[in-house]
């Protein structure tokens, strides 16, 4: 525990800016992954343990697309859409069979896919780690802001995450689709009574959630090397985020992701060796004090 270093940083503007922006960077990718997870849980009431693997898949698909087209924009889209499509397949043919079954059956199906996807990736893209490399148009010197440093690419990244957050909010709160989805979340039987095709909504939400994970993977590809099994760590982190923010709450995912981001960036100064520990303590604390999470509405 290095409190004075932490204090020192909090008092210096440049450090404050840098660490905060770092928190945003870590947070924004985490948000994209976690929000998909939380959407799926909120609407379908299932925990998609395979979400990390979808992130991995997104990164690898984007890598191939980038190598073919040499355009990062296209690569990102292909990554997101490709994973969305895969998620649709996964939901229609497998997850759908374990709705209503207890969480353990869902865990089982998802774990099977974690194993299968890791192996598939190894067979298709090889066991050696891969790296996309930074697209030329992002190879700019970083921006200096009040003495703090922010790379251009990360500004772009935070921007996209912010747009996604906004778009999601509008989609869920301002559109008919949003109303339907929220209805399905709160009371499936009612929606089907209203003549809405619940199973279609479920499929759509699952695919969308998957696509978000894929998008995150694709966006991370230029700076994070890929290897089979890379989904594991991100999965645990997004669990922490969803729990802290409130399972099923998109705004919660945002808050949780940023919180974890900041814990990481300032923790690396204050308590570098126990960051993970602190994250789990936070998770436990939330579960004990307010199981529905920061943004979750209390059921009891």
């Amino acid at each position: 525990m290095d409190t004075e270093a932490l204090f020192e940083c909090v008092t210096s503007l440049s450090c404050l800016v840098t660490q905060t922006s770092t928190g945003l960077i870590v947070g924004s990718l985490l948000f994209l992954v976690a929000t998909g997870l939380t959407l799926i849980f909120g609407v379908l009431g299932i925990v998609n343990f395979a979400h990390g693997s979808l992130y991995m898949l997104g990164a690898y698909i984007a890598l191939s697309a980038f190598r073919l087209t040499d355009s990062f924009i296209i690569a990102t889209f292909v990554g997101a859409i490709g994973v969305g499509a895969f998620s649709l397949f996964f939901e229609r043919f497998f997850m759908r069979r374990v709705y209503g079954a207890d969480v353990l059956m869902q865990l089982l199906v998802c774990y099977a896919f974690i194993l299968i996807l890791d192996d598939a990736v190894k067979i298709i893209w090889g066991s050696e780690f891969q790296s996309m490399g930074m697209p030329s148009y992002f190879q700019e010197p970083p921006v200096f802001l009040a003495g703090g440093v922010i790379p251009v690419f990360y500004i772009y990244l935070i921007g996209i995450a912010a747009c996604m957050a906004l778009a999601l909010w509008l989609l869920l709160n301002k559109t008919i689709i949003g109303k339907i989805v929220r209805a399905a979340a709160s009371n499936p039987s009612m929606t089907s009574a209203l003549g809405l095709n619940t199973s279609l909504i479920y499929a759509g939400v699952f695919a969308f959630g998957g696509a978000l994970a894929g998008l995150a993977g694709a966006l991370a590809a230029p700076v994070r090397s890929m290897s089979p099994g890379m989904g594991f760590s991100i999965l645990i982190e997004s669990f922490i985020v969803t729990v802290i923010g409130g399972m099923g709450s998109v705004s919660g995912a945002l808050v949780g992701a940023l919180l974890i981001g900041l814990i990481r960036s300032f923790g690396s100064i204050g308590f570098p060796f126990f960051i993970e520990g602190v994250m789990f303590v936070a998770m436990a604390a939330i579960l004990v004090l307010k199981p529905s999470g920061i943004m979750g509405k209390d059921s009891h």
């Binding site: 497998f94 207890d102 089982l108 199906v109 099977a112 299968i116 789990f280 998770m283 199981p291």
Partner: protein, 322 residues
């Protein structure tokens, strides 16, 4: 329902034990011996988890905490204080019980997925403590230098054959104990709490206390599994406390079936068996094991034993009961 008396069950267990102990004399292939030892460890571990999942209706994702706690506490005791193995064994189990009591007191108030995630959080917390406390636990490399295993009662646990004997006895006795506990008044109160906690409350049952007791018992027996494993690998590793280990226990329980006592034992045998065979025959065990797990999830649904039991009752037209 025609319940067997505990005496009868004890007889069955004793009989099984004799058979198991005789196996090495029939085929002295050390593969059998190693498998037996690992099976003992995981059968106890998985069954202990099923006290929570199957009989308590509490799905824990963090049960490996106790597997690891057992392995590490036992290992550290053997390395630092020269105590006879039985004493260290009891101390380690006591340690697990204590940890389980503390964690459980906090966890059992929560329901369903929240309980699951809280147990997970505590386990990962324990894991990151183990990994970062290098000076004491050896960090990521685990307890190095081997465990001293002084002979006792003529057993030298360095010898695989002796360790096999020891594991079989400990394993069978632990299973018998758990069986006894689950048939006790507490065991049925636990089922009542699982089926309908509200009703249990209105019958004057202290639900929280029952759940906590179940949690502590599960933790203690889980620790025994870890101790056997520590003896086998003569050390302890952070992986023992990682969430993947909890996952494996859950899969064993699910594959075997949550509604029968013996299910998890069968599940442990299945998963270990599959793992060993598959890693032998193919390098793509991910694909293979994944496919098998899918089969279990989508076809056998509630585990192999239920599948069998259901089928049997379909034939005989009786109802299933746990």
């Amino acid at each position: 329902m025609k319940a067997r008396s505990f005496l009868q069950e004890a007889m069955i267990a004793a009989f099984m034990l004799i058979i198991l102990v005789c196996i090495p004399f029939v085929s002295d292939s050390s593969a059998v011996i190693d498998f037996g030892i690992r099976l003992a460890a995981f059968a106890v571990f998985a069954t202990s988890l099923n006290i929570l999942i199957g009989f308590g209706g509490m799905v824990s994702f963090g049960h490996a905490l106790y597997f690891g706690a057992g392995a590490y506490s036992f290992g550290l005791i053997m390395q630092h204080l020269d105590l006879p193995i039985p004493v260290a064994f009891l101390l380690a189990v006591g340690f697990c019980a204590t940890v389980a009591a503390i964690v459980g007191a906090i966890c059992v108030r929560l329901k369903e997925i929240y309980f699951a995630f809280l147990t997970l959080a505590f386990q990962m917390l324990f894991h990151s403590i183990v990994v970062s406390w290098t000076s004491f636990t050896g960090g990521d490399q685990g307890l190095m230098g081997g465990l001293p295993r002084p002979p006792f009662l003529g057993l030298n646990l360095v010898e695989p054959s002796d360790l096999y004997l020891f594991s079989m006895v400990v394993g069978v006795v632990s299973l018998l104990l758990m069986r006894y506990i689950l048939q006790s008044p507490f065991g049925f109160t636990l089922r009542m709490v699982r089926d309908n906690p509200d009703r249990a409350k209105f019958l004057g049952v202290n639900v929280w206390r029952i759940k906590l007791l179940a949690f502590v018992l599960a933790g203690s027996f889980g620790g025994i599994g870890g101790i056997i494993m520590a003896l086998l690998v003569s050390g302890a590793f952070p992986d023992f406390t990682y969430w993947t280990m909890s996952g494996e226990a859950v899969f064993m329980v699910l594959m075997g079936g949550v509604n029968t006592f013996i299910g998890p034992v069968l599940g442990a045998a299945l998963l270990l068996g599959f793992n060993d065979i598959i890693t032998r025959v193919t390098e793509h065990h991910g694909l293979a094991l994944g496919a098998i797990i899918l089969l279990f999830a989508l076809v056998f649904k509630h585990g192999i034993t239920d599948f069998i039991v259901q089928g049997w009752h379909k034939l005989t037209g009786k109802k299933v009961e746990s």
